[in-house]
Amino acid sequence: MNYGIVSQEQLEQIDVILSDKLIKLGVDCVIIIDMAGNIITAKDNGESKYDVYSFAALAAGNFATVDAMAKLVGEQEFSLLFHKGQESNIHFSKIDDELLLISMFGQDISLGFLRLNVVDVVEKIRKIWEKE
């Protein structure tokens, strides 16, 4: 992929995967961002109203901070990045060196179940990039 530009076709394929694999399971909102804090795409269940631009900027900062901390203690990376709240949770997953997948979900989905599906989604998205 020519990084920085995503084709209409790629985005449509990704949006279908996000809808089928995550939103239909009950995930409230899924966002793909790059490490600079740009939004690649965002999908939600039609109910959640997050300010996705601010969210992306903060999420990229948060991920970069945790990543830098991992390196300071001699880890390649911390593989699980998860914030748990009373009603909503946020899960981060690295797609590749430039892209992050972020899922926001409530208490009706377990973390284990979400992670299984996220792994699947990430693999499928990687394949779409590879095709370029």
Binding site: Y3, G4, I5, V6, S7, Q8, L11, E12, D34, M35, A36, G37, N38, I39, I40, T41, D51, Y53, S54, A57, L58, A60, G61, A64, T65, A68
Partner: protein, 201 residues
């Protein structure tokens, strides 16, 4: 790196305000936030200490409207200027498209400006970017202090210290009164958009 969405025809442009601590970076964004409410998509996010110093960054998304059919979304960031925060400064610079260097025109800040600019040069190199190539605008801030009898560096000295090799556009400004804040923003947006267009061709 700007991010371009061909499906929705959106271009996201990341602009970072960089410069020494207390130079007025956050004040620039606050002025933009107050003055252009209609073009601002959401609340300004400020990650700061109790003393109002920037801890990680300020973030302000700014809608430019359309250029050649593309919706231009500008993301304004500031870095924390305090010397000890270089690790976070570097993180904020990731993927930057354009930089405003906010220098503090107060006479006693002369050395700090130079040091900050040198560090910007190094930080960009760590991302394989060059300070000589990236869109950059110099802002000499706090010129209002002259009227209050506080010694301010003459333009010729600032230019010689900071812009003799770079030769980028420069403006005297006062972020607190808003003088040349919008002009600075317009200048960096147009340089950044032109540079992105060139990369696309």
């Amino acid at each position: 790196m700007s991010f371009i969405n061909l499906k929705e025809k959106v271009v996201q442009v990341k602009i970072v305000y960089y410069g020494p601590g207390r130079g007025g970076k956050t004040t620039n964004l606050e002025f933009v936030n107050r003055t252009y409410r209609k073009q601002i998509l959401s609340e300004m996010v400020s990650l700061k200490t109790h003393g109002d110093r920037t801890l990680f960054f300020d973030f302000l998304p700014f809608d430019m409207g359309k250029i050649k059919g593309y919706d231009i979304k500008i993301q304004l960031y500031t870095v924390p200027g305090q010397v000890k925060y270089n690790a976070t400064r570097k993180l904020v610079l990731r993927g930057v498209d354009g930089i405003v260097f906010v220098a503090d025109a107060m006479e006693k800040q002369r050395e700090k400006n130079i040091r900050s600019l040198n560090q910007l040069h190094e930080n960009l190199q760590s991302y394989k970017e060059s300070i000589f190539k990236i869109p950059l605008v110099m802002q000499y801030n706090k010129v209002d202090l002259k009227e209050h009898g506080i010694p301010v560096l003459p333009l010729s000295v600032l230019q010689n210290d900071l812009n003799s090799r770079l030769k980028v556009p420069y403006l005297e400004a006062s972020a607190i009164t808003g003088y040349n804040v919008a002009a600075t923003l317009k200048k960096i947006i147009s340089s950044s958009v032109i540079s992105i267009q060139k990369k696309l061709l």
